[in-house]
């Protein structure tokens, strides 16, 4: 039987992850995205950025992890985000990405989980939606 009962509005997962420069270098290597704006301040500032930024795809990857932990990564059917605010990462220390995942919609065999991702109290992703297969 289908044992999974989800209610719209219910918080199904939360998380917080600290992101530092080491994480950006690790993600660059793992993903193959070696755009220098993600590891060189001089290049970032030369194109008008405040400094080194996290890869949008790193933020996207980190933001889905609470949902992956809650449901299992193989049950994700669809995941989309809009990159609404850049995430600068300082040379020393880290920035904290705070995550909250709520049920947005429940259908016959899948649920839409809406993720709010914030840095310093400001959302950094828009329309972050994960469609998860129900069982």
């Amino acid at each position: 039987m289908s044992g999974e009962q989800l209610t719209v509005g219910e918080v199904v997962a939360t998380g917080a992850v600290d992101v530092d420069r080491d994480d950006l270098v690790r993600y660059a290597g793992a993903s193959g995205d070696f755009n220098p704006i993600h590891y060189r301040d001089d290049v970032a500032t030369s194109v008008g950025l405040p400094g080194v930024l996290a890869h949008g795809m790193l933020t996207m990857g980190l933001a889905v992890q609470p949902v992956v932990e809650r449901f299992g990564g193989d049950r994700i059917r669809d995941y989309q985000v809009r990159f609404t605010r850049p995430v600068p990462v300082p040379p020393e220390g880290s920035v904290r990405l705070e995550l909250e995942a709520k049920v947005g919609l429940v259908e016959a065999d899948e649920a839409r989980i809406d993720v709010v991702a914030k840095v310093g109290g400001q959302t950094v992703l828009g329309r972050a939606q994960v469609r998860v297969a129900l069982r």
């Binding site: 992850v17 994480d23 690790r26 993600y27 290597g29 793992a30 993903s31 193959g32 995205d33 194109v47 949008g56 795809m57 790193l58 996207m60 990857g61 980190l62 889905v64 992890q65 992956v68 932990e69 299992g72 990564g73 193989d74 994700i76 059917r77 669809d78 995941y79 989309q80 985000v81 809009r82 990159f83 828009g126 329309r127």
Partner: protein, 148 residues
């Protein structure tokens, strides 16, 4: 330089097959902070019915990037990489990517819009496995900042 007027609808040839490796999946999983045993532990993946570790959802970008590189390398497309900002991203799965998959990707530019001097280019990259079955479609909207 601005985006080509006839860019919408342009398709690119299949990328060379990409063999998804177990250690690449695990490396990527660690880089995105995953603690999913399906991605990290081959025995957990096998117990769940998969031949090998299951890639995190956003791993598909590694293969999608091969297609976006085609777009950026196409001078006639007029997409200047130094002016590109990632606007949005979507992955739609028929099944998860699993280590051992041999993936090819084919990209089509599905939409080009102009908004306040910027061009918004939407590209859809369809990834298929070695049997030709659909695995995932990755869709990106790239914002190409105008000269102004």
């Amino acid at each position: 330089m601005s985006v080509a007027v006839d860019l919408k609808g342009r398709s690119y040839p299949d990328t060379a097959p990409y063999l998804v490796g177990r250690e690449k999946v695990r490396e990527f999983a660690r880089a995105v902070g995953s603690s999913d045993p399906l991605s990290l532990d081959p025995s957990a993946a096998v117990a769940a019915g998969y031949p090998d570790v299951v890639a995190p959802p956003t791993f598909a970008v590694v293969v999608q990037d091969l297609t976006l590189a085609q777009l950026l390398a196409d001078e006639s497309a007029g997409v200047d990489f130094s002016r590109v900002v990632h606007g949005d991203q979507r992955f739609s799965f028929s099944r998860p990517i699993v280590a051992g998959d041999l993936l090819t990707a084919a990209m089509t530019v599905t939409e080009v819009k102009t908004l306040g001097g910027n061009a918004m280019v939407t590209a859809e990259s369809v990834m298929r496995d070695g049997d030709g079955a659909h695995v995932v479609t990755a869709t990106s909207t790239l914002v190409v900042r105008g000269d102004a």
